[in-house]
């Protein structure tokens, strides 16, 4: 597709479980970003990739959160030992590259619910 895609669109998991969220950026975009959005708030930055490497992971809340982008395209956000407070919309965005500035295009998000 032409836009950023994210799977799954919804994920319900039990407290303590492990989850993976996937992001497919726009073809040719070398920069990829993960954000988290709680109800009633703006998106909050988690991590930014330029190519395969994490250029800035300062937004990851703790070591239960990890993200990879092994081939410089698809990225996976991984959350271990999920907690109810992790429930949120997880958004992925991509831009042409990080040397811009270029607009960041967002995907539809994955709604994560931890029960």
């Amino acid at each position: 597709g032409a836009g950023v895609s994210q799977t799954p669109s919804n994920k319900v998991t039990e407290k303590g479980k492990y989850v993976e969220l996937r992001c497919d950026p726009i073809s040719g975009h070398t920069a990829l970003y993960w954000y988290r959005q709680s109800l009633g708030q703006g998106p909050e930055f988690l991590i930014y990739f330029q190519g395969t490497g994490a250029a800035d992971d300062s937004g990851l809340p703790n070591d239960r959160f990890f993200a990879v982008r092994p081939e410089g395209s698809v990225s996976t956000l991984k959350i271990q030992r999920t907690e109810r407070g992790d429930s949120a919309m997880y958004l992925c965005a991509s831009s042409l590259n990080g040397g811009g500035p270029y607009e960041q295009y967002f995907g539809p998000g994955t709604r994560l619910t931890v029960t």
């Binding site: 950023v4 109800l39 009633g40 703006g42 800035d56 040397g99 967002f106 539809p108």
Partner: protein, 115 residues
């Protein structure tokens, strides 16, 4: 869809009126700004951007004004339509080193357009 914004500023207008949405940004070093529109259950959608060396930029039915002196950004929507109803976020970006990374989002404003 999800209900957002019990604590977000709201703006209600009649169809055909002009709308002005305001945003105060936080970092005087920010040099790139974007307005996003977010509909319920969807990811943010790019509307218009502006760089800090400009004070005004126009798009189709939208105008962004930037006042760096008071760190204020506004989005003007001409002839507002019911389809413009959404939450609107401003976001700021700052060049760190050799690249632009994370966006920092403002609080968001709920725009409701009445037919």
């Amino acid at each position: 869809g999800e209900s957002v914004g019990l604590h977000l500023p709201t703006l209600s207008v009649q169809e055909g009126d002009n709308s002005i949405i305001n945003c105060a940004y936080s970092n005087s070093a920010s040099d790139y700004f974007i307005w996003y529109k977010q509909e319920s259950g969807k990811g943010p959608q790019f509307i218009i951007d502006i760089r800090s060396n400009m004070d005004k930029r126009q798009g189709q039915r939208v105008t962004v004004l930037l006042n760096k002196t008071v760190k204020h950004l506004s989005l003007q929507i001409a002839a507002t339509q019911p389809g413009d109803s959404a939450v609107y976020f401003c976001a700021e970006n700052i060049r760190g080193g050799t690249s632009y990374g994370k966006l920092t989002f403002g609080q968001g404003t709920i725009l409701t357009v009445h037919p």
